[in-house]
């Protein structure tokens, strides 16, 4: 089992009242799964994804990732865990504007203290695989949205994560571009990478093997 959420609650204090963002979430994810999360706007999809990605905390419940109790881990240990196993893909791509495609891909490796030659090989590998070798010296502003998201996915994959968390990865793309990304996910999944994506599109959701529906922070 890759991860397990047991009775997760998350809330914020607003005007003296508890507003629940996540209510009693129970979820088990096996390695190799492809899950789509759906729900209306504001239902807590991104929140849930961030909790799973250990970017956000929760207030109650248990979270085990590869049998490690995340809710008991120290910040540093947790950071190491997600650095090693999790890759993120964002709706707004979130590439760094001052860095070239090559440098954007290299960045996560820098934070993992990977040696220069190894980094070079890994980046070249990714560029090759995504067919963007010719674009390696361009800046994000010089790419189309679809190409930027391609780089975003490549960046998420570069450190060979077990799990990819994608928050509306196709939200800013046209349907053709979106389809390409989905095909890519499908292929990655067949290679054994676990994927959890948030989406608003029924069509994209069908790429997943399982769909989770959220409403007001609750799984239905």
């Amino acid at each position: 089992m890759l991860l397990e959420l047991n009775n997760i609650f998350k809330w914020v204090q607003q005007g003296g009242q508890r507003v629940f963002l996540l209510k009693d979430i129970n979820l088990e994810v096996e390695e190799g799964e492809f899950i789509s999360i759906m729900g209306p706007s504001g239902s807590g999809k991104s929140t849930l994804l961030n909790v799973m990605g250990m970017l956000d905390t929760f207030d109650e419940g248990e979270y085990n990732f590869l049998d490690e109790p995340v809710h008991q881990l120290r910040e540093k240990h947790r950071a190491n865990l997600y650095k090693q196993y999790i890759g993120f893909v964002f709706q707004a791509y979130h590439l760094i504007d001052e860095l070239t495609v090559y440098e954007n891909l290299e960045m996560p490796l820098l934070y993992k203290k990977i040696s220069g030659s190894e980094r070079k090989a890994m980046v070249a590998d990714m560029l090759d695989r995504f067919n963007i070798v010719g674009k390696k010296d361009l800046f994000p502003a010089q790419l189309s949205g679809g190409q930027q998201q391609l780089v975003g996915v490549a960046r998420a994959l570069i450190s060979k994560p077990k799990l990819i968390l994608a928050d509306e990865p196709t939200g800013n793309l046209n349907s053709k571009q979106g389809e390409d990304i989905m095909e890519l996910f499908k292929q990655l999944n067949s290679e054994g990478v676990t994927i959890i994506q948030v989406t608003h599109s029924e069509k994209n959701a069908e790429y997943g093997k399982r769909t989770i529906n959220l409403l007001d922070g609750r799984m239905i």
Binding site: D56, A79, Y82, H94, I96, Y111
Partner: protein
């Protein structure tokens, strides 16, 4: 429309209170420094300009050259100079001498030792010193007239009307009565002629012997000449040699004696000529201060610009929207100007207020009495300041921002990505260059002064108390003798002796004579009694010290220093006379710094009896009144108790006089007034400069972090740790500071080298000062930036990414 701009500007500033506060307070501090320093500089440059004739008044100075090392420049002249010149050259409208002497002034019950000025009756016609009471048209109607300044009138007469009252003045042995003829306003601070009391030099026979009055080598008075309108001083100077030849007669030698005219308005700031009766300033200090004032103002303005530019990125959207909505470029420019102007006005007002608040503090630092005068020139300068600051501060943001292409801005690509441009970087670098130079200056000046104050002078200065007798003549000598004898019996007193000048007086008697080979030579003289060397622990390298009670020592025995022997080429001097002087050299003293460390050690001769020396000197220069001064070395225990003993014995032996004393080490530190003052001013200035620069850095860091919020978030998600983020943000700024040090070090080196050249003895420039300053500045910058970068790196990336 303007009202509209100001209204929008005001709302904008209010909305960004933190930014506005940093801006206004930084600028206000800059303006305050600038105003105070401008006062100082203006004061220094306005000396002697209040006379309506100031452009036609000159002071005579003379240059004598008798070969290498035998050159003399004096701004005081022979006594007869003014009359000689006046009688020979019709170009001269009038002239007056100014002579300074000390005398005991008595008015029935009160008596004070006063510095009196002797001047010619035409004094008030030449100069514009104001007479406010009494005979204001002809104040020196009689030789017995004395004119008091307002403050000395108050000192002697209080509320009484002083006009017509009499004062007695005691010259060496003689007492003369003067009648108060007029009261003059206290001379302005910006005057090279100062006085408390004036008497007419028609009485010159009272002050000078016949021989002194005739001599052309006895320089004791300042000679001021008023030229007729449109007369050229240079042309007049060219005519002087004929007169010199005529009056020097047999003493004349081609190319040795020259007379020159110095414009009165240049007296105060021309250190190439020695001071006359009043101290002068080195314009160095005015320039240093002026530069500091300007730099601090500039630093504050730069802050304004960097902050405005930084913030402008976050305002680019606003500009884009406005433009998209049809605003003209001009309107946007106007709006930024409106904001700059508003901030400037507030900052300048606050700055003036601060300057008023701190002017007393500033005066105590500079030793001046300067007050803000809300006159026309002040308002003009203020207006200039407002325009200057608003221009500098408004120009960049208004031009750059108004140029933004709305489409690009609204797509918000460029804005998010724009890093601190080259312009912004050079501004930060400029600020740090200025701060680093000032900081190095502060440390070096501090070290130099500590060095001067603590340097081994070759004699003991600690635990020594100097007691002036304030008496003259044989009676004074007798008293000094008695007092010293009584003191030596006290257990608190280690040694005691008296001399005509003590180490507390900077500059002893200068004696000049022409030796047998017809070379003019000069040396310093002091009259001491035999315990002098022991009191100050001065060492003898050859021969022996004076022996107490030895009659022949007291008659013609002298001690000379090593420089005397070397400079005058003496060989085996012990027991021999020197040149024409009927003296016997008893011993050679190890060199010691009897003058301040601004001067090198000159030949020195100590004697008990002055007569054999003065018999053959042609020129005697006195910088201090002569009177027996008792130096006492105390056993270093309870100083206050020891002083009480000195006072006690004083009162027993000399009931009439007030007991005065000073600690020698304190008196010596006072010789470095100028240096001490510039030290404290530069100290404060550099702290302010660093503070202002850091405020700018802080603001910039805030803006940078705000701008890079998303990037920081992404990097964190990609696995960056807090250290990574702090390192990344700080690195950029530290790089700038390091570049600044590269520029600042050579500049500071050059500046300090220039400054140290003014000292005969200096610590020299040390590399570790530079290293230390580098570390300090990088440290301060790091702390300043870390505040923001740590905060940024701790924020949850989910938050910063969501707002995107």
């Amino acid at each position: 429309m303007i009202k509209n701009y100001l209204k929008i500007a005001w709302r904008n500033l209010f909305k960004n209170r933190g930014y506005t506060l940093i801006n206004i307070s930084g600028l206000a501090v800059g303006v305050c420094c600038f105003i105070l320093i401008a006062l100082y500089v203006k004061n220094e440059f306005s000396y002697d300009r209040f006379h309506s004739n100031s452009d036609n008044i000159y002071r005579v100075w003379q240059y004598e050259n008798y070969g290498p090392k035998e050159e003399f420049v004096n701004t005081t002249t022979p006594i007869s100079m003014v009359n000689v010149l006046k009688n020979n050259y019709p170009e001269i409208e009038d002239g007056s001498r100014v002579y300074r002497f000390n005398a005991l002034v008595k008015k029935s019950d009160s008596e004070f030792n006063e510095e009196i000025r002797g001047v010619d009756p035409s004094f008030f016609q030449i100069f514009d010193f104001e007479l406010i009471e009494g005979n204001t048209s002809a104040p020196f109607s009689s030789a017995n007239s004395i004119i008091l300044s307002e403050s000395s009138a108050k000192k002697y007469f209080g509320e009484e009307d002083p006009i017509g009252k009499s004062l007695s003045v005691e010259f060496d042995e003689e007492i003369k009565f003067f009648e108060v003829a007029a009261i003059a306003a206290n001379p302005p601070q910006e005057s090279s002629i100062q006085f408390d009391m004036l008497v007419s030099l028609e009485n010159e026979a009272l002050f000078f012997s016949e021989r002194a009055r005739e001599s052309w080598f006895n320089v004791v008075v300042e000679s001021y000449l008023l030229l007729k309108p449109n007369q050229s001083a240079a042309q007049l100077e060219a005519k002087f040699p004929t007169i010199i030849k005529q009056y020097l007669g047999d003493n004349y030698e081609e190319g040795t004696f020259f007379l020159h005219l110095q414009p009165m308005t240049e007296i105060h700031l021309d250190p190439s000529l020695p001071p006359g009766l009043e101290p002068i300033s080195n314009p160095k200090y005015a320039y240093v201060m002026g530069t500091i004032g300007f730099l601090i103002l500039l630093l504050a303005c730069i802050n304004f610009v960097t902050l405005a530019v930084g913030r402008s990125f976050s305002r680019a959207t606003e500009v884009g929207v406005r433009k998209a909505l049809g605003a003209f470029r001009k309107q946007i420019v106007h709006q930024f100007w409106g904001e700059a102007l508003l901030i400037t006005l507030m900052a300048v007002s606050l700055g003036i207020f601060l300057a008023l608040l701190f002017q007393e503090t500033f005066n105590s630092l500079t030793g001046k009495l300067l007050y803000i005068d809300f006159d026309l020139s002040f308002w003009l300068i203020t207006l200039g300041l407002v325009v200057f600051i608003a221009l500098i501060a408004g120009i960049y943001p208004s031009i750059v921002l108004s140029k933004y292409n709305p489409i690009e801005v609204l797509r918000s690509r460029m804005v998010k990505g724009a890093s601190m441009g080259l312009f912004g970087k050079s501004l930060v670098i400029t600020q740090f260059v200025a701060s680093i130079v000032m900081l190095i200056g502060t440390l070096m000046i501090g070290r130099q002064i500590d060095f001067l104050v603590s340097k081994d002078l070759g004699y003991q200065k600690d635990a020594i108390v100097v007691v002036p007798t304030n008496m003259s003549g044989e009676e004074a000598d007798a008293f000094a003798e008695l007092y010293v004898a009584e003191l030596k019996k006290q257990p608190e007193v280690a040694e005691a002796s008296w001399s005509i000048l003590s180490f507390a007086e900077n500059g002893w008697v200068n004696a000049g004579f022409t030796d047998k080979k017809n070379t003019y030579r000069e040396f310093a003289v002091n009259i001491v009694n035999p315990g002098f060397l022991q009191t100050h622990n001065i060492q003898i390298t050859e021969g022996r010290d004076f022996i107490i009670g030895n009659a022949s020592d007291a008659q013609n025995g002298v001690l000379v220093n090593e420089t005397f022997v070397k400079r005058f080429g003496l060989e085996n001097p012990i027991g021999k006379p020197y040149d024409k002087f009927d003296i016997k050299i008893l011993g050679v003293m190890k060199d010691f710094n009897f003058e301040s460390l601004n001067n090198n050690i000159e030949p020195l001769l100590l004697t008990i009896n002055l007569d054999p020396i003065f018999k053959h000197t042609e020129n005697v220069e006195l910088q201090h009144t002569t009177q027996p001064r008792v130096s006492v070395r105390l056993e270093a225990q309870n100083m206050t108790a020891s002083i009480a003993t000195l006072k006690n014995i004083w009162e027993k032996t000399n009931p009439g006089q007030e007991f005065e004393y000073s600690f020698l080490d304190e008196a010596l530190s006072a010789q470095y007034q100028n240096e001490l003052r510039s030290k404290s001013v530069v100290n404060i200035a550099s702290i302010l400069a660093i503070f202002i620069a850091c405020m700018g850095l802080f603001g910039l860091a805030t803006l940078t972090v705000a701008r890079r919020k998303a990037e920081i978030g992404i990097r964190k998600v990609m696995g960056a740790t807090i250290t990574d983020i702090v390192g990344m943000i700080s690195k950029d700024f530290i790089k700038l500071v390091l570049i600044a040090t590269l520029f600042a070090f050579p500049i500071a080196w050059w500046v300090m080298d220039q400054w140290l050249q003014g000292f005969a003895y200096s610590v020299g420039i040390s590399w570790w000062t530079f290293v230390l300053v580098g570390i300090i500045v990088v440290g301060i910058a790091l702390v300043t930036v870390s505040f923001q970068s740590i905060k940024a790196s701790m924020t949850n990336p989910v938050k910063s990414l969501r707002t995107e």
